[in-house]
Subunit: 306 residues, 4 copies
């Protein structure tokens, strides 16, 4: 298939889902800055490995990428540190909620994987050893998106003011001696990473290296090795969508990473990367219409790793 | 690649691993009948979708398939019951040991997925509603393997006599009202399923429907639908190798299911199914050399879903 | 106070509670033989250290002592084994349900205390090293009660047939190597201990050694040492009434042990022992009217350890 | 017994324990200000209900009362709020470590009892509804001790800077909506409560109301009702000494509350209150020699609630 073939599929998906906009699910409530985003929005974009793009709906509306940033934080971590990154972070599914402290207590402050909050906080702590994680994130994403990307400072401030669970997680890890840096510094970077504002089109571009064995979608330079890229894709498939990873693997069959801002990125290895967005979430914390859109996409294209 | 191309790769893997035979890992100790299997054995076999086979090492030595039987029990369950099967069984990774009772208590007797022991016991209980699970299993496997397959009654008796953890799991589920049938009857079937004795070559054949969208490898008749088959492959990738699913997804990148008898089956969708076997296990309960063999296979062939 | 003073108090309590008989709570449902006991029954009896008795209501109706037997199993264990008994059993409150398997998994098969089911099963297993626990129990209780005491074989059979949770607990401990004896043998003794049938009057006598520093209420011979007796009283106060020990300590202020048959025994050190019985249980599994009767008794007599 | 009788007993205990000073146990390490307290110190003091005092060893050396403050915070809470206090705090033993987050997650932010850290933080939050908890604490303790009592600001600052686990606990409860006030404000009061500096003699006096049915030891005015006082004593016995409450109940048999500063207060209802102190802790976080001193005291006096 070429990008020309994908465009009608995306248009068709938008057409199919439009009547359902705002009817089900609920926008994330845990911080005020997210709670007031209008639910009835939907966008979708993709970019093929050979550089063609397709988009439909609100593909150019910026939203809070939230946990999708964990993919990029992990990318920065792997690029900066290689295997040393994994010293304090597991790589297995957690079987508990993304913000659970229980497993963290049993495992003495070592998060199960880099895609639960505790894991991404641990990655951010490690990044502080070698770079300025906030600058490095904007730099990476702006390069990948092909245009400047910014933090939504209001969202970051809202997290800092009311993100009690994340503050608890970070202090809990610190109490086990598993954070090297000051809790406030680590959380400031982590909250800013979550508060990056991007569009579907930008995220479809930015995840392009994940379907190209680690090569930068614009420069072709290696961002990660082939093996590191496969590691991220494997983690996305097994741990990328909270406690619905098993269902996503079945019904969509692609490495995905979702965020509570309503975005989901997905990767078809050697073929394309894509992003869907709709703010209303289902009970598992994944975008309700985003998920449905990905299922339709998988059905209509037959693209699946299985 | 054709089967002709695969044969030298398998031969080469056997050659590479032979010096390590019996040097690391430990044969499963929890039942006497498994504990006395000699560690220094290795075999490997594959069968392509178009019916060609390759094999190396002890590919025709029978071993106890143990948890690999969970794939076939699930297949029987899906064929017999469709969606009703999932009433009492989840489909998400567990994040805890395959024989843990903790999550089962928190989730009131509902297992996280059909590939942990509790889940397979629940599948077996459901099978008793519509068939004789022992006869159905031998029938299914004999047909898939193309030759008669048997239970190792000594292994089944050993499980029944000393499989305390599984007896605990079944009674625990029963106490939550989550088993319909008599505990002893359910466990007798479950222990026999685990005690099926098969060779690598037979298992490579028997998993053939998983790389052929559910079509029987010999008859071409649909055993499962395309969608059901994808469901099983997705579950194998996310939950098939105990608490190492994340590592397998990364280092092998194929849907796999392992057993404590030392076997591991793997599926390359639309391409081939394979089986490796070596009795010594690593700390996660997966065959140590089996895992290494699959990694070598993935490296040498480039076959991976990612 | 003398027994003469206590009689009107008991009569008064019966009078006060009679209007409430059968109005609240629910008879234990988990085994059929208990589920059909009529709820609207109440009895109470006490015996002072100097041998006087008082009783009111259905004080001579036999009921299933259930977990009250744990006090006597522990007494047998301490008498037979001394400190060795504690090798595999803790002595701290559990903070989880009396039949939970969670803590047992975290603590590798070692129960938190001898008054949760797992703990009493462990005590019974140890008893099998040196005596016939069933004969020893009847012998002990008949001597303490001053008349022959029997098992209710129907209740024991009901437990054996449907006590899935206890069967799970025993097999779980066995899987950790924490039971020396055959699971079926241990459970047969444990189920019979729970199935002892006694009256309030008999239990008030039988617990007489607990208010007399371990001296037998009839013979005056030491059954336990002073220190061992204090150990049991301390355990009753901290762990004797399931997940309501804190409330009992406050509102009653006496060492108590309850059973799901609706009985509760209580000890006023150096003064008296008593037993109340009413089959309907509250949400914590303690006799609803039994608990209220003990509160009234504590209020009217001012007897409390605090 | 009169205070005249107690003096030689205390002197004798000091004599017995002096050779063991500094030989076993370890001073609390979790904050720097406590970690540098010299281990080889011991003091003991008591005050009878009728106002006589006895003391031995370093009875007039001030130390950090730490968790002993939880008794006084609870007293303030009960006095200010009555039953409303218990809205968000349980009253049962926890079965897990005093600073565990696990049970808090299962019980949605509601602490098991007011003597674990989470429970005392919840009490402090409630106090902020009606008073200035820091001023109220100093006021209460100065009145009870008969002389001005102060915060050790260095200890409070050390807690605020490095008490990560407590910061985690408070933010965790806040994330469940179970704290009304600002986390920093609540923790500031909580850390100051823990940082009160008092001597054994002062604490023996200050706990005087607990052996006098709630009457102030100097003024005789009711501080709490008889019933409220019994509630506190019951909680001290079942939950006052971390995960050693069962052992304390047995070997000492008195309501006790310990702190990681090495102090332990104990109550003999209607008789006396006492305090021991020695900074080196045992594995359960209780003062090692303090515990031994209480055991000797119980043995020599025969005072025990059992």
């Amino acid at each position: 298939m070429t990008a020309r073939d994908f465009q009608p599929i995306l248009t068709d998906i938008v057409h199919t889902l439009t009547p359902d906009l705002g009817k089900e699910g609920q926008v994330a409530q845990y911080i005020p800055a997210l709670a007031r985003v209008p639910a009835a929005q939907f966008g979708m974009a993709l970019r093929t490995c050979d550089g063609h793009e397709a988009a439909a709906g609100a593909a150019d509306t910026a939203f809070s990428i939230q946990s999708i940033s964990k993919v990029f934080a992990l990318t920065l971590g792997m690029r900066e540190m290689g295997e040393y990154l994994w010293d304090r972070i597991g790589r297995e599914p957690s079987g508990t909620a993304f913000n659970s402290l229980v497993q963290l207590e049993f495992e003495q402050g070592t998060p199960r994987n880099p895609f639960i909050n505790a894991g991404a906080i641990a990655v951010t702590d490690r990044l502080l050893n070698s770079c300025d994680p906030k600058a490095a994130m904007l730099d990476l994403l702006s390069g990948l998106a092909g245009e400047p990307v910014h933090f939504d400072e209001e969202v970051a401030a809202s997290e800092a003011a009311t993100g009690y669970r994340n503050i608890a997680l970070a202090n809990f890890m610190k109490s086990f001696g598993k954070l090297d840096h000051d809790v406030a510094t680590v959380l400031d970077a982590y909250f800013h990473h979550c508060a990056v504002s991007m569009t579907c089109r930008q995220l479809a571009r930015a995840t392009g290296y994940l379907c190209r064995d680690g090569l930068h979608p614009f420069t072709g330079q290696p961002l990660l090795t082939d093996k590191q890229t496969r590691r991220i894709n494997a983690l996305m498939l097994t741990c990328g969508t909270y406690d619905a990873a098993g269902e996503f693997a079945f019904s969509i069959g692609l490495p995905c990473k979702s965020g509570v801002g309503g975005g989901i990125v997905a990767v078809v290895p050697d073929t394309l990367s894509l992003c869907v967005w709709s703010p209303a979430l289902d009970a598992t914390g994944n975008s309700l219409l985003g998920r449905r859109a990905l299922e339709l996409f998988a059905q209509k294209t037959g693209l699946s790793v299985f």
